[in-house]
Subunit: 308 residues, 2 copies
């Protein structure tokens, strides 16, 4: 079952203790699509600028990601620059230039409307709402957000939360938005606004899945020998999670508890893959065999019987 | 199979956003013993001061904890005062008065020498060494340490690491001691000094178990609706972990992978119980039924099939 994502295509400058890259493909929609396409076909909606370097979109090309929803805007592309330090838990944003993103009015191609899952990557909440209205047939609508909208567009964010089935939030974003330090209580407050499920991203500690039905599931991060660049880990996490759910939906009518639990492991696995190389590089060589091997490892790391 | 613990008996003043207590029973040996005694009998070695309030040791009395190893020192008892803030991840130590602890030379009662497991709670590494030498028959020797000894007694700490089977370290202590940011690489460096297993305590994120044999196992924290006082959580964690191993040793000759994995869940469960009330209070009402219920819950929170 295909997945539609609306988000950003960025040109990123990234600096980590392991090196630096300039003008590399980035953006939430790029990471999400590359992760989710390992499971099911992805439809991408984004806007690009006139200065997008030739071949920038090459990593997205192939038969798994539909790019007809990429619109050419008038003006410069969205750009982001960031620097990570040795512990990778904090980063400095060096610059953010919205460019064509500032006036982005996403339009959903007709062929995208039948996608089973719609993912609204981090964007202005009012824009996220416009996209939801264009996809009335989606069986599952999921949303990502970030601190910036929590402080600058809280009312719109609250409204869009009432329109989605699932939300991805980083731990600190959840605490800030809910105004509650205890994660379970904070999650309950957000779910009371509408979403049936909340995924709390804990960075290098993994993630939690909570549900209005009492669901509570925890998955650790997939341990890496070396983190090279965490850019895009959150969007890749969402791609693994929703990609895995889309694959489950291809085989059954209704998602069950086991599907959501597996999805949380797949999210962590894709988030880790994103961290293993600069930018979106790791996805170029990623195979289904790599993915299955890591899934089985992560099961063995968390199950008392080793997942046997 | 019984467990011997050597550590501190403290008089604590604790302040959290939920209230404050003064002159309450604390110390690493107290928390460890109260947690481990839920599984197997515990032998306690510690020194107390002349000013220890009457009835202070009452929470430890009963048929599960042998107190004959508590020595009466000359001088004031060890005292500690701390203040926690809203997020509970940082605490201010308000005062530490060593008192009789400064000259503590632990002596192991003869009846303690047959204990299967020896736990060296946080103490000066040279003192920990003296205790190991008095327990040549222990089948498993485990050690806890803290930042203070890493900076002030690194050589002794390195030597004692060569004499133990297992180490408990908080994430930041491990990074500091090993001088490596990546947890797996840091753990490998410590295990190269001797220990077969390393347990990394991640605070509110749970814990990891790593082994020289390649063991890697992760367990999340048991989620609480309310954290009231995290004092003693690390020692209670060790008590749950080693208590559970001692119970396994009562039924079999050799510990297997499943025993260590279960122990990591029990550690997290006991750490969480410690946080639910001030000081050691929660242990007074704790039943085997509570413990088993939480264990089953934590399995269901981490196993894809819900632990069924």
């Amino acid at each position: 079952m295909s997945i539609t994502v609306v988000g950003t295509i960025g040109i990123d400058d990234i600096e980590t203790p392991f090196g630096r890259v300039e003008r590399t493909l980035g953006g939430s929609a790029a990471y999400f699509a590359l992760a989710a396409a390992n499971y099911e076909p992805v439809n991408l909606i984004a806007v690009v600028g006139e200065d997008l370097p030739a071949h920038s979109l090459d990593p997205l090309r192939g038969d798994r990601i539909d790019l007809t929803g990429i619109e050419q805007g008038q003006g410069p592309n969205f750009r982001w620059g960031g620097r990570y330090h040795m512990d990778f838990n904090t980063r400095d944003t060096l610059f953010t230039e919205l460019g064509v993103l500032a006036d982005f009015q996403p339009k959903m191609p007709g062929a995208y409307r039948d996608a089973a899952i719609l993912f609204l990557a981090n964007l202005q909440p009012s824009v996220q709402m416009q996209v939801i209205e264009q996809a009335p047939n989606a069986r599952l609508v999921a949303l990502d957000t970030m601190n910036f909208w929590i402080s600058s567009a809280r009312d719109d964010l609250t409204r869009v939360l009432g329109m989605v089935d699932m939300v991805f939030m980083a731990e600190d974003e959840l605490r800030e938005f809910a105004g509650i330090a205890n994660l379970r209580a904070a999650a309950q407050r957000v779910m009371n606004m509408g979403p049936k499920f909340l995924v709390i991203k804990l960075g290098s500690y993994g993630a939690l899945l909570l549900g209005r039905d009492g669901t509570y599931f925890a998955a650790p991060a997939f341990p890496l020998d070396e983190v090279r660049d965490p850019t895009g880990a959150g969007d890749s996490f969402a791609g693994g999670f929703l990609g895995s759910l889309a694959a489950a939906l291809a085989n059954k009518r209704e998602l069950g508890a086991v599907d959501y639990r597996r999805a949380l492991l797949h999210g962590n696995i894709m988030g880790a893959f994103a961290c293993e190389a600069f930018g979106v590089e790791r996805f170029a060589s990623l195979t289904r065999t790599d993915l299955d091997a890591r899934y089985n490892q992560l099961v063995s790391y968390t199950h008392i019987d080793g997942g046997a």
